[in-house]
């Protein structure tokens, strides 16, 4: 349409929104952001591992869209993925190293000064207080190559004995459960299992908002599946399910034992599989005798008939898959709960076949990389520090003197915190995690950070709660500003790319480690660690012969052309058996690269224990570490708030779009009945108090939390003031999900400020 005197159909404002064919496999895109080319890069938020097509103009990212050619996300992304570039441009990026001055402010310094201070202070601590006085806390948010470099540099170069990661807060339980049950930390599934299952059982998983792109796979299931959600809250996923079991918080272990009890009683067990592939079932069967559905009904609040009905569904011989997330992992008895699900899968033969499995859905984008290669509580490549053969193997591959490899395991995250409290740990190096917000029982943790002689924080932002407490801040490049690989929940290795220039003097963590190696004086040990891809090849060697063998992956280009590759992907060239447990004779574990896009484990019924058999592990359910009582009558549940929020929000809070998609201020979900009894109206400020701290939040009244329970999202910094330091004894994972609190209407009616 042409402009007339009275009507402007077009003009400069109209042109701002013109769209044009994007080419390069894209549909229409904003004309002003039309790319020269696009490159795929795996998203850096959660473990789904979606591939994003980054739109480049003059070599730099100007926009992105979801990659349609990738087997994980099939052209979809959640809002965090769509907004992945926004946090890179935040004004509070750390752009120079910072050093705490005598007046206790953080002042910019150059890299040389920062590195000298870091090395000098850490070496002084080591000299004065011994090798156990230093520790680091890592992350599941940086590429595997960087995680391995961090772990190797710290332990083999700097002589730091203790390191752990924020993965302790999310995945440790699944790791331990798998290791104990299967003999290796091996999530057995592939995402196609969502589509091929007849019965999907989700436990403590709000997949719809925590992993929305995986929910897509559930909806693609053409088998009209039963979708069972077991969660105290009526979540988005519970609403979308075909049945929801709103069990009482932490009655899960009793509940699953009752299901096993009933399945055993009905005789719907896979005896042939049990005999061939497992050990310990008879003991488990004996243990189950008292764990009747009636008893579980009492514990869980679910009627006995419904429990029996669910047991019959699981025992029906259909393809049943079990999926769990933080509702299981973040528990004081999470390992046994996860194993209760593994046991259900094993006893019904629901493993190694399409649409089955006991499947842990991971949290962070590279939690899986961290599990295998972070060199923290396990030696590189899923090995054990206490095993001399493992140490020798790693020393040989890395060309290191054998005695540089510690012969004992690191302290866990909680033990490092305890060590600081006891004054044993004096120097702490935190990389890409925000402990001051996320660690359980925050008031205690934050008080302890001040006790350190030296706290070094390496992060994209100088504004995190943790960076603000640091003595030295090292500015890091973020996702999109560096190269490397992530491993997703289904064991798929995918590539991330440098598509933006880091601000100021920020450096990729990889480069920071190179620099530190030089300043520490151990660069010669890391001569081969010259680029992320060079390290990837070292990791291939380290993996050879291990269950997580990736020696068949030729390099980064291979990952690109294959659309990511799941481990194991072995190359016979490396298969000089130096592993303690050689592959069982009848193993169908691929000897040669199997290029199938989606692969699951244990199709042959052989597990990674020396005898090839999976174990049944179980324990009596224990009471809540802090049960509700007369003074603290409510149970506090925590969890994800929305799909637009990521953990402590250091990145998601930097996007205007994402900020619109979640409540800016802390709120608490309270059951309407409780609210009426307490005289709380909608939006009233409510004080929530535990034995450890208190917070004030706006009341959101609903039926989706049960009476006697309240829910607060974990993303708000106040939430962990309330949580209770209790841990799973096997995995040392914190029990974030249930503690006892009081709920009090705050005195004043909430007033909105003008504006």
């Amino acid at each position: 349409m042409k402009n007339t005197l009275l009507r402007s159909w077009t003009g400069p404002l109209t042109e701002r929104l013109v769209r044009a064919p994007g080419e390069h496999g894209l549909g229409q895109v904003p004309a002003a952001l039309k790319p020269d080319t696009v490159v795929p890069s795996v998203c850096g938020f959660c473990s789904t591992g979606c591939s994003l097509s980054v739109h480049l103009k003059d070599g730099e990212a100007v926009n992105l869209s979801a990659n349609p050619g990738y087997p994980v996300n099939l052209g979809m992304a959640c809002p965090k993925g769509w907004e992945a570039l926004a946090p890179l441009a935040a004004p509070d990026r750390a752009t120079t190293p910072l050093l705490r001055k005598d007046d206790s402010t953080l002042a910019p310094v150059d890299w040389d000064t920062a590195m000298r201070h870091f090395v000098d202070r850490f070496k002084t601590i080591q000299r004065e207080h011994g090798p156990d006085a230093l520790a680091w806390l890592g992350t599941g948010q940086i590429p595997t190559e960087e995680l391995a470099f961090l772990g190797a540099l710290a332990k083999f170069g700097m002589g730091i004995r203790h390191g752990d990661g924020n993965t302790r807060q999310c995945m440790a339980t699944a790791v331990t459960a798998y290791k104990q049950s299967f003999g290796f930390d091996a999530p057995p599934y592939t995402y196609a299992d969502f589509e091929e299952s007849d019965v999907l059982v989700f436990v403590g998983s709000n997949l719809c908002i925590a992993h929305p792109i995986l929910w897509q796979r559930v909806l693609r299931n053409k088998r009209s599946p039963e979708i069972v959600v077991i969660d105290p809250r009526t979540t988005e996923t519970a609403m979308a399910a075909t049945s929801h079991f709103a069990i009482r918080p932490k009655s899960d272990l009793s509940f699953f034992y009752a299901l096993a009890h009933q399945i055993l009683r009905d005789g719907s067990i896979d005896r042939e599989f049990l005999a061939r592939s497992t050990t310990g079932f008879d003991e488990f069967a004996a243990f189950l005798a008292p764990h009747t559905p009636a008893r579980a009904a009492e514990a869980s609040g679910i009627p006995e008939e419904r429990i029996i009905e669910l047991a019959r569904l699981i025992g029906s011989g259909k393809r049943v898959s079990f999926w769990w997330t933080m509702g299981v992992n973040q528990s004081y008895e999470g390992t046994r709960v996860a194993q209760a699900l593994i046991n259900l899968a094993l006893m019904t033969g629901n493993i190694g076949k399409p649409g089955t499995g006991a499947n842990s859905i991971t949290g962070q984008c590279n939690a899986m990389g961290s599990r295998l290669f972070s060199n923290t509580t396990g030696l590189l490549g899923g090995r054990d520090f206490t095993n001399p053969a493992h140490r020798a193997e790693v020393a040989r591959i890395l060309e290191l003197p054998a005695d540089t490899i510690p012969d004992e395991n690191s302290l866990g995250y909680d033990q490092i915190i305890d060590g600081i409290e006891a004054g044993r740990i004096k120097g702490l190096w935190i990389v890409a995690t925000n402990s001051a917000h996320s660690w359980i029982q925050q008031n205690r943790c934050n008080g302890l950070l001040d006790k350190l002689d030296c706290l070094v924080v390496q992060d994209m932002y100088a504004s995190t709660e943790t960076a603000q407490a640091a003595d030295i801040v090292l500015p890091a490049a973020g996702w999109g500003e560096k190269d490397g690989t992530f491993i997703n929940s289904e064991r798929r290795i995918g590539r991330i790319r440098k598509v933006r220039r880091a601000p100021g003097q920020a450096l990729a963590d990889f480069h920071i480690f190179q620099l530190l190696a030089r300043y520490w004086g151990c660069a010669d040990r890391f001569a081969r660690w010259e680029s992320p891809e060079a390290v990837f090849h070292i990791l291939r060697e380290l993996s050879a012969g291990q269950p997580c063998d990736i020696s068949g992956i030729e390099g980064y280009d291979h990952l690109d052309t294959a659309g990511g590759i799941q481990w194991p992907y072995a190359n016979s060239k490396f298969r000089i058996s130096n592993s303690e447990s050689p592959p069982p004779p009848n193993s169908t574990t691929p000897q040669l690269p199997d290029s199938t896009t989606e692969r699951r484990l244990f199709a042959d019924g052989r597990f990674h224990h020396a005898d090839g058999r999976a174990r049944f592990l179980f324990d009596e359910p224990r009471p809540l570490p802090e049960a509700p009582c007369a003074d603290f009558p409510f149970t506090l549940l925590t969890g994800r708030g929305t799909s637009a929020q990521w953990h402590t929000q250091t990145r998601t809070a930097k996007s205007d779009v994402l900020r619109k998609l979640y409540p800016q201020n802390i709120y608490v979900e309270i059951n309407l009945t409780d609210a009426v009894a307490l005289g709380i109206r909608a939006n009233d400020p409510v004080t929530i108090r535990s034995r450890r701290g208190e917070l004030t939040a706006a009341a959101h009244l609903c039926h989706t939390v049960q009476p006697g329970q309240i829910f607060i999202p974990m993303h708000y910094r106040e939430t962990n003031r309330l949580t209770h330091s209790s841990f799973d004894p096997h995995s040392r994972q914190p029990n974030y999900k249930a503690c006892a609190v009081q709920v009090l209407p705050a005195a004043r009616y909430r007033t909105h400020s003008a504006g």
Partner: protein
Amino acid sequence: MTVFPPETDETPIDRLLRRQQTLDTPVARFSKEQAELEAPRFRELIPLTAPAPGRQYAFEVDLDKCTGCKACVAACHSLNGLDEEETWRDVGLLHGGTAREPYLQTVTTACHHCTDPACLNGCPVNAYEKDPATGIVSHLDDQCIGCQYCVLKCPYEVPKYSKSLGIVRKCDMCHGRLAEGEAPACVQACPNEAIRITTVDTAEEAARHRNSASGGSTFLPGTVDPGYTVPTTRYTGRPVPADARAADADTPRPEHAHWPLVLMLVLTQGSVGVLAAALAMVDPLPALALSAGLCLVGLKASLFHLGKPFKAWRAFLGLTHSWLSREIIVFGAYFPLLLGALLLASPPAAWIPFAPPGFVFPATMGAALAAGLAGVFCSAMIYHDTRRPFWKLHRSAAKFFGTAWILGAAGALVVAPSLPAALLLIAGTLAKLACEARHFHPDALGPDKPAVGSTRVILCCLLRVHANRLLLGAAGGILLPLLFLAGAVPAAVAAVLAFGLCLSAETTERYLYLRAVVPFKMPGGIAS
């Protein structure tokens, strides 16, 4: 390549910083590979052909598949190149049900491309266009004057005003994509295929929404009667329980103050009131001067409300459908008439070569007053036409004409202090305060009273402002005229103070009027 080659002058740190700043993405290879892919166009989610006559495109949302991922919002933002803080889609939350059967439902929402779009009907410059072939309601960004009346008119919060651009923008259903057989951004981006484009029969939609036999809502609970604009979006899936409520339904949230509008309304109404008072005066000149002064400032203030004031001359285009257009035209006539009256009332000067006939002055005065009263009525209709309960005609007109009365009487007191002026001021103030007090009468607070939301906003968020309004009104409109009558203070001082206080009181009242209104909207998320 080694990391620290000893032979170069470059320090290791400089070398790493340089490497960090180098982008070496393999452009050529990926261009080739990606070009071989055909873009996914999601054709199965859009109609195969353009709508037949009598039909139009519409969004269809399967609520069973909308599970709260909100990818549609972010994808719309990125694929349409919106400004950093701008979003055209939103996702709200409905909740309800019972303790035994809780209900929770996320609701994705964008423009409903109504068959009778309120935005289009309200626009004074015809910056909206409903495409006759597709029914898509699009916005002409270069035609927009940034008056934001569409923002008030749309009951679904669709048009979004950009302060930096000075215009509103909105969802155009990606019409350019549809024209090429490609799905809109939100449709492409929904992992669950919850959003699709269908065609609907416009007459059927109007009948369905306007003649609903059941009397129940034919749209989502808590939204405006869909008969108002006839939205075309269809929400399918499990029926939404009638008692479901938006997560933000109980959150009192004051609206924007729109200060230029506050001043424009109060001052133009004051001007008309003073003009009316001038009619009764022996020497109308000072009153006319005051009236003209108030009007001038008021109209000037209104320009500050516009993002693109230089395009406002086209405001007559909407005369047939927009009360804003009518208001602009009527006040556009009022001001010259008022100036004419002022000139005619002035002592003959050298520049008037002859004395006009005697009927000209009263005719001009009369015409000006008629225009002024029509203008105030148009102002009231602008707000009434949004259908917001707090702005219904009886409330708006009472307030607007009340302001004219009060400021007319107070103005009269200033220019020609008199007993009737003082009594009229007291009477007007009492009447207006009584009117406003009715919001707080227990009867008005019942759940079925439509303006109860506004009362709640005042009670919980604007109570101090409301108290100020009462104090200023009582002081300026009652106490000072009484003091004047009693002769307790010098007449001039009392009059000027009364006028100043009344002006402040009316301005405060108007601020409350704009801030305490509760707009219609789609369900929002948990309030923050």
